[in-house]
């Protein structure tokens, strides 16, 4: 192991240990795990009843000697939709809080200049801090995943198979990358502000725009969302009619798509929904096809995260190595 790797691992361990000692973080984690459990519980109870209905249909069809039995329209992984949505919203806030704590803790304890007085480069500091935070995030995501899977199995009476487990793994891996990007945002905004709490406010403002406002604008601009129950349904048009009419709205649809594409949260949502069978149109297809369909979202997720990581390295490089007057 090279000296650089050793230093990065040491910094990552320091970050991990410090983060898990924070009470506010524990409270936020508690909220996330509780709401995940409740959302999956609610979905699983409903699912168990639908699964029982389907099983009764299969039994009746088998008894009556039917050769062709309709496949189940149910998808166990879709029960995790609420869990993914909570990661998208609350998970991002937790990641920002982690990033904020990384900088404010070192500032308050005046340990940042101490660390920088050692032979540690800004790149090693950024990488070590990010790896430690990713460790915390991975632990959190693993806990919510286990809670979700156990709820689906025990309450929904449908344990996931190996293929579903792989898809779920990829969905949660995307969650870690997504939260990692918000960690970088929280750390950058805090490090760039003289008063750490102001940096936190700026990061939360960006979170508000990226996670809530841009997807909301995109959803609201959707022509079909203009009337309760759907505009095209109200006009008595089916899918073909809708597609035909939307050919007259290409510029409008392009603006709507750009608005949604600007949001990192929307890319995470699309990918995680594809991996958890939330959208019915994705259910019949295998994993390579799904990855091909969502390659744009994967690309954006990686691009946003890489850009924010580069920003973190740059910000840490520009941090003063000697204590500055006051932390206001």
């Amino acid at each position: 192991m090279s000296d650089s790797t050793h230093r990065i691992i040491t910094l990552a361990r320091h970050e991990y240990r410090s983060a898990v000692r924070s009470r506010i973080l524990i409270v936020l984690l508690g909220i996330l795990v509780t709401v995940t459990a409740v959302s999956v519980y609610i979905a699983s109870v409903d699912y168990a009843s639908k699964l029982a209905d389907y099983q009764a249909y299969v039994n009746a069809a088998t008894t009556s000697g039917l050769d062709r039995i309709a496949p189940s329209p149910l998808a166990a992984l879709s029960l995790l939709r609420g869990a993914m949505e909570y990661i998208e919203i609350i998970g991002a806030v937790i990641a920002i809080a982690l990033g904020y704590l990384t900088v404010s803790r070192e500032r308050t304890n005046r340990t940042l200049p101490l660390i920088r007085s050692r032979p540690v480069t800004s790149g090693e500091l950024a990488t070590g801090s990010l790896l430690g935070a990713l460790g915390v995030i991975a632990t959190l995501v693993a806990v919510t995943a286990v809670v979700g899977i156990v709820c689906v199995g025990t309450i929904g009476h449908d344990w996931i198979n190996a293929t579903q487990a792989l898809k779920l793994f990829l969905g949660y891996l995307a969650a870690i990358v997504y939260m990692g990007a918000f960690y970088c945002l929280g750390a950058i905004a805090t490090a760039k502000s003289r008063v750490a709490a102001n940096g936190l406010m700026i990061a939360l403002g960006i979170w508000l725009i990226v996670v809530l406002v841009l997807p909301q604008i995109g959803d609201t601009m959707d022509a079909d969302n203009q009337i309760p129950g759907g505009l095209f349904k109200a006009l008595g048009l089916g899918h073909d009619g809708e597609a035909q009419i939307l050919t007259h709205f290409t510029t409008y649809e392009r603006i709507r798509t750009w608005t949604e594409e600007a949001s990192l949260a929307k890319h995470f949502e699309r990918f995680s929904f594809a991996m958890t069978d939330v959208k019915e149109r994705y259910r019949p297809f295998n994993l390579p096809w799904l990855l091909g369909q969502t390659r744009n979202d994967i690309g954006w997720l990686i691009a946003y995260s890489a850009a924010l990581y580069a920003g973190l390295r740059r910000t840490f490089r520009n941090q003063p190595t000697i204590p500055q007057g006051g932390t206001q």
């Binding site: 506010i24 909220i31 609610i42």
Partner: protein, 304 residues
């Protein structure tokens, strides 16, 4: 003395440009709601025109224009989403800054070296937050009226009254969060922990409670038009008893009634929806007064 504290706080917010930031954000948000409403109007009209042509070409009769089913004020229905999302967060920050600066700057110690009672101090702080929110919401009301005039070329007196009521309700709702911002500062020692605690409370009120009591997924809260979730499970039979206390749902429902964008219900039912919000404001105000009475202002809070 209450007026002196309040005017000092308003002046302080103006000098920090918090007031300007609040005003700019809320006005942008209102203008955005107007633009989205206008875009929605145009889209529906154009989709309807195209649908009529398409159906005529297949020999089918034209359906009624769905836009005629939309109430006039539905143009601003996005405001019912933006107030609990953006407005509430801004109100949290407003409440937070109202108290936290006195802690970190040591102004609190200086203030209480004068003949000022703690009750006057806290009432002044609450009054300043209420006044700032009232001014920015009044400005939002004007932008909303302008949006309606641009799209509809006219506004009925009744609609103007409804808009006024909607913004009055929004003011009440935002006061909940301004007070939460104050309470969390008074209950914690670090300013960042206070801010994160207030954020946690906002997340629970805005996203978690509606899921517990009505089965609304978090992203459903972002769309002004949502299909009702199934709540026939035993779980909801228990939790739905708490629905009157889910203030964000009550705010959205009452706003829907005022703007006539929701299924009509009696005035009494709408008032019943507003009462828990008013009750929460009252309770939080009392808690704030109580916490200020006990607070040790000689100890400066950690600026981080």
């Amino acid at each position: 003395m209450i007026a002196t504290i309040a005017s000092h706080q308003v002046l302080s917010l103006r000098r920090q440009r918090v007031f300007l930031a609040l005003l700019a954000t809320l006005l942008t948000m209102t203008a955005l709601a107007g633009v989205l409403g206008w875009s929605s109007h145009q889209t529906i009209v154009r989709v309807y025109d195209e649908a009529v042509k398409l159906l005529a070409s297949t020999g089918k009769p034209a359906p009624p224009n769905p836009f005629l089913l939309k109430p006039t004020l539905s143009l601003l229905s996005n405001m019912v989403v933006y107030i609990p999302l953006i407005g509430a967060l801004l109100a949290l920050i407003l409440g937070h800054l109202s108290i936290v600066d006195d802690e970190t700057n040591g102004t609190g110690r200086l203030v209480f070296s004068r003949q000022i009672t703690r009750t006057s101090y806290v009432l002044g702080k609450i009054a300043s937050a209420a006044a700032v929110l009232a001014v920015v919401l009044a400005a939002s009301l004007l932008v909303s009226v302008a949006s309606l005039l641009v799209v509809n070329h006219t506004i009925a007196v009744g609609d103007f009254g409804r808009l006024g009521l909607f913004y009055a309700l929004s003011w009440l709702y935002l006061m909940v969060f301004a007070l939460i911002g104050m309470v969390t500062v008074l209950m914690t020692r670090r300013r960042s922990i206070a801010l994160l605690s207030a954020m946690g409370a906002w997340l629970v009120i805005t996203f978690v409670l509606p899921q517990f009591t009505s089965g609304l997924r978090p992203t459903q809260s972002l769309n002004p038009i949502t299909d009702p979730a199934s709540t026939s499970q035993t779980f909801f039979k228990v939790t739905s008893k708490l629905r009157p206390y889910s203030v964000v749902e009550q705010y959205k429902q009452a706003s829907g009634q005022i703007l006539q964008t929701a299924t009509a219900e009696s005035v009494g039912q709408t008032i019943q929806r507003i009462l828990p919000i008013a009750g929460l404001v009252l309770v939080l105000a009392l808690v704030t007064v109580r916490l200020v009475q006990r607070h040790d202002f000689s100890r400066s809070a950690n600026s981080e």
